[in-house]
């Protein structure tokens, strides 16, 4: 048991040794395989940053997404900045952010300059049709996994259902949902039996 616990803790020691270059390279890879908005990046962040590299926990990743919703800028960049800061303070923040924006810089400039006709190619369109469907499945798969850690107890179910209904019926903005959920955290628990 002791050994197991030790082994479990070992990767967090390794964490500090990740070079800025490797941080850049891994965020480059994650940016490259993000199709769509910041939410589409969540599955790959969960797999690469949480499960493979063990840079942070699922809970922390969701914290970063909640805060990234309500702060200026693009959510994918906000999440990358948070993770980079956690690993290497300011220099980590800068390398992670530069990593996540680099694929866009290269690919968009290429597409805009040379490959405009690439977008009209029938095979490319079919491939992207498939990817768009794949992204939906990836999002569902990720939420399914995170549900187990992110939604606990009756309070969790109520907040999830209320947020989903408010989004679906009233189309409230993400920032409104986050503020309401933050306020709801202070509603006292009526059932005293909860641990």
């Amino acid at each position: 048991m002791y050994i197991k616990a030790y082994k479990k803790n070992a990767p967090s020691k390794k964490r500090n040794m990740i070079s800025l270059w490797k941080l850049y390279a891994l965020f480059f890879k994650m940016g490259l395989f993000t199709f769509g908005g910041g939410y589409a990046m969540l599955p790959i962040l969960k797999k690469e940053a949480v499960e493979k590299q063990k840079w942070l926990t699922e809970e922390e990743l969701l914290n970063y997404y909640s805060i990234g919703q309500c702060t200026p800028g693009i959510i994918a960049v906000n999440a990358a900045s948070f993770i980079g800061y956690k690993l290497h303070k300011l220099s980590g923040l800068v390398s992670a952010t530069l990593g996540v924006i680099s694929p866009s810089l290269i690919i968009i400039v290429l597409v805009a300059a040379l490959l405009r006709q690439y977008m009209d190619n029938q095979y490319v369109q079919w491939a992207f049709g498939g990817i768009r469907i794949g992204v939906i499945a990836l999002i569902i798969d990720t939420v399914w996994d995170m549900w187990q850690k992110g939604v606990k107890g009756i309070r969790g179910y109520i907040v999830f259902t209320a947020a989903a209904l408010l989004l679906w019926l009233f189309n409230l903005s993400a920032i409104t949902i986050v503020i309401l959920a933050a306020l709801a955290a202070f509603i006292p628990d009526l059932r005293r039996t909860q641990k």
Binding site: K29, G37, F82, I108, G130
Partner: protein
């Protein structure tokens, strides 16, 4: 000088567009109106290309708009200026979060937020699905991919590649 103007305008977008990539569209539309750097038709084109190329949509659009305005250096200027406000704000928030990570109230809020964020993420998937899942064929493919993901715990990279191949084979 065009780069200073690009810096100013895209820094502003980065600072005021709260909530992700597509929120920047109205700001870009204003730029098209005010400076004529690109037309609104080209803007529609940019949105389409940004959504179907690798990389977060918001970054792709900033890069494209900057490129249209002033070439490769314009692309660099626009993208870096747009992410700069995020980096500054997150830097201070991450510092504060570090300091208060054991504060019970902060933890109460953060864990209370998680179910809501999951609902937001699922809703984002639902919004994409409304445009993408249009018939039984696409629904079947989505469910098939989902089952494969639940059974085979592989990196999303493989599934992105697999769904591209499925798209080409089945002509989606």
């Amino acid at each position: 000088m065009i780069y200073a103007l690009l810096f100013y305008e895209f820094f502003k977008i980065g600072l005021f567009a709260i909530g992700g990539g597509l929120v920047t569209v109205p700001f870009l539309f204003d730029l098209a109106e005010e400076y004529g750097w690109f037309t609104s038709g080209e803007l529609a084109d940019m949105i389409a290309v940004s959504q179907s190329t690798p990389g977060p949509v918001g970054i792709n659009m900033a890069t494209y708009a900057g490129y249209k305005t002033a070439g490769i250096c314009g692309a660099l200027a626009a993208t870096l200026s747009e992410v700069l406000p995020s980096m500054i704000v997150i830097y201070f928030i991450a510092q504060a979060l570090n300091k208060w990570q054991n504060n019970p109230n902060i933890n109460k809020i953060l864990s209370g937020l998680r179910p809501a964020v999951l609902a937001l993420i699922l809703f984002a998937g639902w919004s994409i699905a409304q445009e993408t899942i249009t018939d039984y064929k696409s629904l079947g493919i989505m469910l098939g991919l989902l089952v494969a993901m639940r059974l085979i715990k592989k990196s999303p990279i493989y599934f992105i590649a697999a769904s591209a191949i499925v798209g080409v084979i089945l002509h989606i």
